[in-house]
Symmetry: C2
Subunit: 466 residues, 2 copies
């Protein structure tokens, strides 16, 4: 049987309660989104209209000509429980409640409404995402309740994003659109009275369109910790799960309590749980996106031995510090390799790792060294530093690097710093799925995450295969 959440992401029909032609209204933005990209049947529901944007509009859910797969609700909070009950009676099995005005208000009325909604959900077995959420942005089915017309939509792709913060999730979609990072499905689940992080993690774990899962959480629902670890353990054997936990400090968890009424709790417990589950935890916005990028395009690492090829000695030193600091190894060049490199390179080049091709390097010199390195079994990953301000770099090594990475299935990442001349190199490499960084320290952290996941995955492959 299909997972019930399948209807959330892949419905054949959707009813939108609160749909309206009124400028600036959430119900209009959502209806427009669906009209633009959703290929199933769309039913606007609003007693005030007979038709909206050429679609027949229904007075109520009861009046609908069929039982839609999915219900979207964007009306004032006090009217929500009745509509959900009606929908459940009609046979609708799952709903996204966008409306705010529930527990997050901190008022007794809000609290009461939320309880009521929860009761209805349980009594009638209708599943609810929300309330007080932005909902779903599904890049494959066209389900899109992100009611922010100014938000640019990222291209179709393979990152699944689960977020406890609505605004952050929409800003991140916008950011990923700008950086051309493809998204499969994004979910902002709001007050999570029913469907929560764990349900969504499980679903995206099975989802073939999702290759990397990113989560922003402030808290888990009480009593769900053990299940979370169980589910995550299964999912990480299929794909990497990256998590950013907000409310880590005591002051931060107080802020989280104001924000989503989250009981952010002892961070050390979360941290231990993530580790036990094999989840990659990230500590900053930058790391979050760096790690996503490296997982999207890099194969796993067989060990932690990293070789650096550079035209800038200083950046080689910076990288050596950074990689060593996160626990990766920058081995000294073994004697067999030294022998080969010494013959291959001009005498002023440094054959010790980081291998410094120096400021008179050209594309040819890079390619010769990379050809040698990639074959060595003791080279687990290569970092190519190419500061292309020097005259010798014309960019002909780019295709070669891409070819080597695909052929040998070894991680190759690159670092470049500068203006258009660097950005052009970066763009071409990225297009060929060679991940590019401009910060040695960020590169090191991302590569470390790749290595950590490689261990988790390999361990699972050996011991936990079903």
């Amino acid at each position: 049987m299909e997972h019930i959440l399948g209807k959330l992401f892949n419905p054949e029909s959707v009813a939108i309660v609160g749909a309206t032609p009124k400028e600036g209204k959430i119900g209009r933005a959502i209806l427009e989104n669906f009209i633009k990209r959703f290929h199933g049947r769309i039913y606007p529901v609003n007693p005030g209209y007979d038709e909206i944007f050429g679609l027949k509009c229904y007075k109520s859910v009861t009046d609908l000509p069929e039982t839609p797969d999915l219900l979207v609700v964007a009306i004032p909070a006090p009217s929500v429980p009745a509509v959900i009950r009606e929908a459940a009676i009609k046979g609708i099995r799952i709903a996204i409640v966008i409306s705010g005005g529930f527990r997050e208000t901190g008022t007794p009325e809000g609290e009461k409404l939320e309880k009521e909604l929860e009761e209805i959900s349980k009594t009638y077995g209708i599943r609810i995402l929300g309330p007080n959420c932005i909902g779903i942005y599904d890049n494959w089915s066209g389900v899109d309740t992100y009611f922010l017309p100014k938000m640019k939509r990222p291209p179709r792709g393979f990152v699944g994003f689960i977020s406890q913060s609505g605004a952050f999730s929409s800003a991140l979609m916008d950011w990923m659109a700008y950086h051309n990072i493809g998204v499969s499905r994004a979910i902002s689940y709001g007050n999570k009275i029913d469907i929560d992080d764990i349900d969504l993690l499980e679903y995206l774990g099975e989802d073939e369109k999702t290759k990397v899962i990113l989560m922003y959480i402030e808290d888990l629902k009480p009593g769900r910790g053990k299940l979370f670890i169980e589910v995550a353990k299964r999912v990480v054997q299929k794909k990497p799960v990256i998590i950013y936990k907000a409310g880590k400090t005591s002051r931060g968890s107080l802020a989280a309590a104001s924000h989503t009424a989250a009981m952010a709790g002892e961070y050390s417990i979360y941290k231990a749980a993530f580790k036990q589950a094999g989840i990659i935890e990230v500590d900053s916005f930058d790391e979050m996106m760096d790690v996503v990028r490296i997982f999207l395009h890099q194969p796993l690492m067989k060990g932690n031995r990293v070789y650096i090829v550079t035209d800038a000695g200083g950046v080689g030193v910076m990288l050596t510090d950074a990689l060593t600091s996160v626990g990766l190894e920058v081995p000294q060049t073994p004697s067999d390799l030294k022998y080969i490199l010494r013959k291959e390179l001009p005498p002023h080049c440094i054959i010790e790792n980081p291998i410094d091709l120096t400021g008179d390097a050209d594309d040819e010199r890079y390619m010769r060294v990379l050809d040698i390195l990639i074959e060595k079994p003791y080279v687990d990953a290569i970092v190519v530093v190419a500061l292309p301000q020097i005259p010798g770099i014309k960019g002909s090594f780019i295709d070669h690097i891409i070819k080597l990475k695909n052929e040998y299935k070894k991680p190759i990442v690159a670092l470049t710093i500068g203006s258009e001349v660097s950005l052009e190199v970066a763009e071409k490499l990225e297009k060929g799925e060679v991940t590019v960084f401009e910060s040695p320290e960020r590169l090191a952290k991302a590569l470390k995450a790749l290595y950590t996941y490689s261990i988790i995955k390999t361990r699972g492959d050996h011991h936990e295969k079903p």
Copy 2:
């Protein structure tokens, strides 16, 4: 008397030994740089030519019609000592030796040549920058030995950069050009047989065109540690000094030894020295540039109490964690302020710090809250989070924020995440000297550096005024 290094940056005349019209040669790139932007007299020196690019060319330094203020040397290493001796006899007092082929080669010949050069410098009292360096890029005088035509030149401005790595310094210039960060003078000093970090730090400390000093170092010359601390202590009372130390780990310092023959030494000693001197040490490429940006445009902080105004609760939580983690305070809103904000804001807004204007915020709401906050004596800095994907933000608050910052001389920084819609907000704020970030964690680190320097500066103002 003028500081001798004045001639390095502000010569009235320069001779370029090794100047040539030959395509792709360093001597040509340097000559072209000077012709393009230097307003003093230029003397190419090369026995092979009578004229280069319309300038009379001289057979030797001895033949020059005057004693130039500055000599630039870009010829093969073995010929360098003789030329420097000749120049010293001619009365030239300072030279930039671009040529490589000295101690950095690790060969006995290179070592010998460098010793010889050092001897001549001492015997004749001719000061030398280099050898094996890129030299000077001076944005005010037009002295420019950065022989990399592909490197974009940053705009005129107030960042002084001293670098032990040539390639990194040119990549950084290129990067700063792209990011429109103004540079006063950049120096790559290579093997530093004579002029070193300390001389340059002292000079930039007095330089009125330099407001922020950034240093990349791998080592200090032996025996210069105490002097370095003394000089730095004086300089930091005038302007902030930011340092990035490479070769921090034992593996990294081995790499540094290969790179610049640096004796990177015990990092803990360096770290303690930086702290004692009041230097701001940064640990990553990102932090380096973030801290430079915040120092360029933000006034000092009177205390460490930071208030956050946001339209995204999640980002408020992230920031609270990040600020708290670096030791800044995110105070809970005092009751007098709570009273005012409660009257001013709709009931669903959160008046606890981080003050959450929520997703239906508009420019007007931001301005009202900022007007109230900026006046409070217990508010030491304000972080404005504006995720402009929400419909209410039109951008009219931008000028208001800039006005408040200028009027009250309090640090205001901003955070925004997204595509063009965010970048536009960011660009306008930056133009008004409100520093903008997209990462909560990076913002926090930069603000912490500002606070640290504020303490150093204030302490000096009280106790160490001459």
